[in-house]
């Protein structure tokens, strides 16, 4: 696989980032300490390069109807200027990816899949578009995505926005977006994120990415913003109980196993969509295992792939886990047999041969104070 580099790669090198491969991209893992980066997002602000994510434009008279067919949600029903979390499944109901869809108008949508899946999703969308009057355009390579996350994110962006456009930032609701100029760059500004904090994601052409990155870093200095890598992004999303494709979500899991049943619009969509028959059957037959949150009662953390035990018998498997920097105890997401998935159930995780006590707890692990 050839390595991909974002338009911000040189910025990361200047900042002394250590890099990691993620979905075929060389991405910053961390710049200094991943714990410090994590805490900065919870208390002040963090700056992320998410340009490895995909951007696929769907335009044309049948854009809404097409997305209703291609994805499991009812995307035609989103209001203009709003975003919606959804899934793209195969005919067997397996999850190809989770993604966010932004509606600019009845004939214009932006679909944002995960980095490693972007080519697959773009190809699947193009294939499914055969009988619709739509154009599917994969703009991933030309588009950068920068996230500013944390309680100070809004104040930082306001410093970089003309006063006449301040309301476009301050009035923006969660999962809504506006088009405006920030630090001299025309951006799509969405109030979305993957950290459990208030924050924004900014889409813009690659050419302006480095300039925007430096402006945000500079404007955020007085607020304590720090550049954040994928290590802190992962610990932040885990505390917020958000699934990661490849860990919690995969072709082998149904949305119902993952607790994403409400995302599947079996009732509100009358027409067929890819995976519908299999998903209807999966809903009727029920899940054998479901995704739960686990809280470690000791100090050691469960990790992806570790067996979950009840009285010494394997009843599940950890998909993501680590010590929670904010909460101070180990947290994990795990698929567990439904009979052991009740809140409060005492389970063990096999930590390299030693059973350590964990407890099934409600998700998310961490919820910010509003």
């Amino acid at each position: 696989m050839t390595e991909n580099y974002t338009a911000l790669y040189e910025e990361h090198k200047k900042l002394g980032a250590s890099f990691t491969d993620f979905g075929g991209w060389q991405m910053p893992l961390k710049y200094s300490s991943e714990l410090a980066e994590h805490h900065a997002v919870r208390k002040a602000a963090g700056l992320f390069d998410l340009s490895h994510m995909g951007e696929v434009w769907v335009t044309g008279p049948e854009a809404g109807a097409f997305l209703d067919y291609a994805l499991v949600g009812k995307l035609s029903a989103i209001a203009d200027g709003k975003a919606k979390y959804s899934l793209i499944c195969n005919e067997d109901g397996g999850i190809i990816d989770d993604l966010i869809t932004y509606r600019f108008g009845g004939e214009k949508y932006l679909v944002v899949p995960n980095a490693g899946n972007a080519p697959t999703v773009a190809a699947a969308l193009a294939e499914r578009a055969a009988n619709f009057d739509v154009t599917v355009e994969d703009a991933s390579a030309a588009t950068s995505l920068v996230a500013v996350q944390g309680p100070k994110a809004e104040a930082i962006l306001l410093k970089l926005t003309d006063e006449s456009q301040h309301a476009l930032v301050t009035d923006l609701k969660y999962y809504a977006f506006n088009e405006l100029t920030i630090a001299g760059q025309d951006v799509i500004l969405a109030r979305t994120g993957y950290t459990g904090e208030d924050g924004f994601e900014l889409f813009l052409p690659n050419e302006g990415a480095a300039s925007l990155w430096e402006s945000v870093a500079q404007a955020g200095e007085e607020f304590g913003i720090v550049p954040c890598g994928l290590a802190s992004r992962d610990s932040l999303r885990l505390e917020a109980g958000m699934p990661l494709y490849g860990n919690e979500l995969s072709l082998e899991r149904s949305p119902f196993d993952a607790g994403l049943g409400p995302v599947v619009a079996l009732k509100s969509k009358e027409g067929g969509f890819v995976g519908r028959a299999a998903l209807e059957a999966a809903k009727v037959s029920g899940s054998k295992r479901k995704l739960v949150g686990l809280k470690g009662l000791g100090r050691r953390a469960g990790r992806g792939g570790y067996p979950v035990l009840k009285d010494g018998n394997v009843v599940g498997e950890v998909t993501s886990g680590q010590p929670s920097p904010t909460l101070g105890y180990p947290v994990a997401l795990a698929y567990v047999d439904v009979e052991h998935a009740e809140l409060g159930t005492a389970l063990d995780v096999d930590l390299r041969g030693k059973a350590e006590p964990f407890e099934v707890v409600a998700l998310p692990f961490y919820k910010r104070q509003k």
């Binding site: 961390k30 290590a231 050691r300 953390a301 990790r303 680590q322 010590p323 920097p325 390299r352």
Partner: protein, 127 residues
């Protein structure tokens, strides 16, 4: 680039040992290893009085992202462990060759050890 302390010897598994021949030797992990691990959040050390064997695991080091086995660079009896790093493992990241030492051992036999120069060359550290 992570520092490699010139006065120490190293195992291929990234432990350092301060062996001056007088009394028990001190064992820790290199800055190269500490940096690669990321923020260390948990350490499991051998018990005082137990025997460790060169090249074999004697504990583990867990960071936010991963878990690594701790290998003993020498064979011998553990005489003391650093309780401070057990209660605050971040000390290992902050001062891997000083306050972040792990345990002391009366050496009966050394494993294969590298000089600081050899270790730095093999692992991209800075002398």
């Amino acid at each position: 680039m992570a520092k490699v302390a010139a006065e120490l010897k190293y195992s291929a598994e990234h432990e350092w040992i301060a062996a001056d021949g007088s009394g028990p030797s001190v064992v820790g992990v290199s800055a190269v290893a500490a940096e690669a691990l990321g923020d260390i959040v948990y350490v499991d050390l051998p018990e005082v009085g137990s025997t460790v064997t060169a090249g074999e695991t004697c504990g583990e080091i867990e960071s936010t992202k991963s878990v690594s086995d701790l290998y003993s660079p020498v064979t011998g009896e553990v005489t003391e462990v650093n309780d401070d790093v057990v209660s605050d493992p971040a000390v290992i990241n902050n001062d891997p060759y000083g306050a972040g030492w792990l345990f002391k051992v009366t050496v009966s036999e050394e494993g294969p050890l590298l000089s600081a120069q050899e270790y730095a060359e093999a692992n991209g550290g800075e002398l």
